[in-house]
């Protein structure tokens, strides 16, 4: 296992039972999250982005696969508590994630208490954590969540997540509920902290332009699988998987008439209880050909270093037959 990876995920499977059916929320996800890296996870709702985050943190029972921290595939309580101390998470809705009956002070102190850190330094640590996210401790320590704005709440959530000085922070749609001006403030706080502490970030988002502008690497998920990954610039500016192309085409362009006469992906994400045979994207794919409904493609290196695509268009020559991959 690679030393540079904070977390490696191998063949992760998570399943949910629905009466007699089984929804395969994660269906064999493999992903590396390097130390200090900003990794974007993008895809439509229901593709498994948030389940992946929960699975990484051990909040979800696994049906298969493993989460490896630092190259050690440890299991059991020790590994789990290690992981939770070193990787933290913040959520989309700052209105629902803070306990309304706790003061800011207690919210940010709680992780220190749970991890059993000495009482003596706590107050100082908490004040420093609040200053780090741009909140004046004197004014905010004794407030309750309902006395804060949405942006301030998200700052408190970040302070509580970072008070243990984790090496990784998973952000599940951290700004999608916030207004434009507040949104860029929260993003700057996150990115400044990321640079200063060499923090690894996972950004879960459905906003591709945001992922493009902030992330080092991007993984595109579809129906419980990663279908394309690579450097953020490569993946968004030169998508290879037909699904990534479709996502990129759908981004609203902040230019008059930017939509133009684009071709949009039709239909919707299929039900995870009924994953299509062969390539899971083939029923919606504009480029499907002969073996797509039979052969399930795996991630293969394509093009530049570190780029991987799970699509038969880029698979080995015998399968590809006479179909030429279309570039760009």
């Amino acid at each position: 296992m690679n030393e540079n990876n904070l977390i490696s995920v191998r063949d992760l499977e998570v399943q949910f039972r629905q009466r007699r059916k089984v929804a395969r929320a994660l269906d064999g996800v493999s992903l590396d999250w390097k130390k200090g890296e900003v990794l974007g996870v993008v895809g439509e709702s229901g593709c498994g982005k948030s389940t992946l985050a929960r699975a990484i943190l051990g909040l979800q029972d696994l049906a298969g696969g493993e989460v490896v921290l630092d190259g050690n595939a440890g299991s059991g309580r020790k590994a789990r508590s290690d992981l939770r101390r070193r990787v933290q998470m913040i959520f989309q809705d700052p209105y629902q994630t803070l306990n309304p009956r706790q003061k800011v002070k207690d919210i940010v102190t709680e992780p220190l208490v749970i991890q059993g850190l000495p009482k003596a330094g706590r107050d100082k640590t908490v004040r420093a954590a609040l200053r780090d996210v741009g909140l004046d401790p004197e004014r905010y320590l004794d407030r309750y969540p309902h006395q804060l704005s949405g942006g301030q709440r998200q700052r408190v959530a970040i302070a509580a997540a970072l008070v243990l000085e984790p090496e990784g922070l998973i952000c599940d749609e951290p700004v999608s509920m916030l207004d434009a001006s507040v949104r860029s403030q929260i993003l700057s706080v996150l990115l400044e902290l990321q640079k200063r502490r060499n923090l690894a970030l996972i950004f879960i988002t459905h906003d591709l332009s945001l992922a493009w502008s902030l992330c080092d690497r991007i993984a595109v998920m579809y129906l419980g699988r990663v279908v394309e990954s690579g450097s953020a610039v490569d993946v968004i500016e030169d998508p290879r998987h037909p699904y990534t192309k479709a996502l990129v085409t759908a981004i609203p362009v902040p230019e008059p008439g930017g939509g133009g006469s684009r071709e949009l992906l039709q239909g919707e994400l299929p039900d995870a209880t009924d994953v299509p045979k062969g390539c899971r994207f083939h029923p919606r794919c504009p480029k499907r050909f002969e073996p797509c409904d039979q052969v399930d493609p795996s991630l293969q290196p394509v093009g530049t270093k570190g780029r991987e695509v799970a699509c038969l268009l880029y698979s080995d020559a015998t399968l590809r037959a006479d179909v030429e991959p279309t570039h760009g």
Partner: protein, 335 residues
């Protein structure tokens, strides 16, 4: 040609304090106007007041005149009573609500809900005609008529949003107001719904008021845009002009904060602070405490005036020929 809709000096008060103030705009037949701004800036309040659907605690004043092409006489919405408005709503103006998920009746079939709208607003339509219209409507918004015989919980988010649009179109209004119609949807679904709105506008000659905090969405869909801040329009003009050369610092900063793929990556310096309390905006230009260019002059109220052809801004310093570099303001992290 006279305008389809004329709004003059619209004002909405809550306990004597204005939360929408001095809002004026016009809309031509088939035109799409985008209303942009952050939460609490008065976008939704403006939309609701056009249909006189404000909650009882709010008082509205100002002129609203609608001239539907199929009527001789203009409709003075501002003078209509509640009973008088009931024949205007849905028949001449309709509204696609924010959060379509919660706007449909969970215990009625989709087709029954559409039928209800048609029957309430039009007399003497036969059952057969109603059914034909429902099938037609569902097809228009890209759904199969078979979906009519389902409950809303059996539909996906995108399908429910399409049903909401079908409801809005049921009585063939000349103006549709869509309040954040795509906010709860994914990129792909969002693009599909926007494409649908554009198609409807072209095919049916609908005028559209699109409310969104997403400038990208507005740029794609609208002809003109009005940017609101603290209950007022601070900049308005053709989409092309406003996006190419914004004339209010707020618009400029909002546009800068949008990542444009292929442009420069990374974050533009954020706008410090938060939107002001609606009803209690700062004196003078409401944006001045957050504006990097503000001076003493900004303590006086700027008027919305034309600064480029068709483009108006409420800023003392407009027109801006160039924007001075902004020093990145630290948003809190100690160095």
């Amino acid at each position: 040609m006279s305008n389809l809709l004329e709004v003059t000096n619209l004002r909405v008060e809550h306990r004597g304090k204005p939360i929408v103030d001095d809002v004026s705009f016009t809309l031509e037949k088939g035109e799409a106007l985008g209303l942009a701004g952050e939460s609490g800036c008065g976008k939704t309040t403006t939309a609701l007041s056009l249909m006189k659907m404000l909650p009882s605690g709010l008082k509205q004043s100002g002129g609203i005149v609608l001239r539907p092409p199929d009527l001789e006489e203009p409709i003075r919405i501002d003078r209509r009573t509640e009973a008088g408005m009931q024949v205007v709503r849905w028949r001449h103006i309709s509204l696609v609500f924010q959060g379509a998920m919660n706007s449909l009746d969970p215990v009625k079939y989709i087709d029954a809900q559409i039928a209800e709208v048609i029957r309430l607003h039009e007399d003497g339509v036969s059952g057969k005609q109603v059914h034909a219209r429902i099938d037609d409507l569902l097809t228009t918004v890209g759904l199969t008529p078979a979906l009519g015989h389902r409950y809303s919980h059996q539909l996906s988010g995108g399908q429910r949003q399409r049903v909401m649009i079908a409801l809005a179109l049921a009585c063939r209004p000349s103006l549709v107001i869509a309040d954040e119609p795509t906010t709860a949807l994914d990129v792909v679904m969002q693009a599909q719904v926007l494409q649908l709105l554009e198609w409807l506008r072209r095919e049916l000659g609908l005028a559209l008021i699109l409310i969104s905090h997403d400038l990208g969405v507005l740029a794609e869909t609208c002809d003109r845009i009005a940017v609101m801040y603290a209950g007022r329009i601070v900049e308005t003009g053709p989409v092309a002009g406003v996006f190419a050369s914004p004339q209010h610092p707020y618009t400029k900063r909002l546009l800068d904060s949008l990542p444009v793929i292929g442009g420069s990556r990374g974050l533009a310096p954020p706008i410090p602070g938060g939107p002001p309390d609606p009803g209690d905006p700062p004196d003078g230009c409401a944006f001045h405490p957050r504006c990097p260019y503000s001076t003493e002059r900004c303590l006086k109220d700027p008027a919305l005036r034309e600064v480029a052809p068709g483009q108006s801004a409420a800023c003392h310093f407009a027109p801006w020929s160039s924007w001075p570099e902004i020093k990145p303001v630290s948003v809190g992290v100690r160095t």
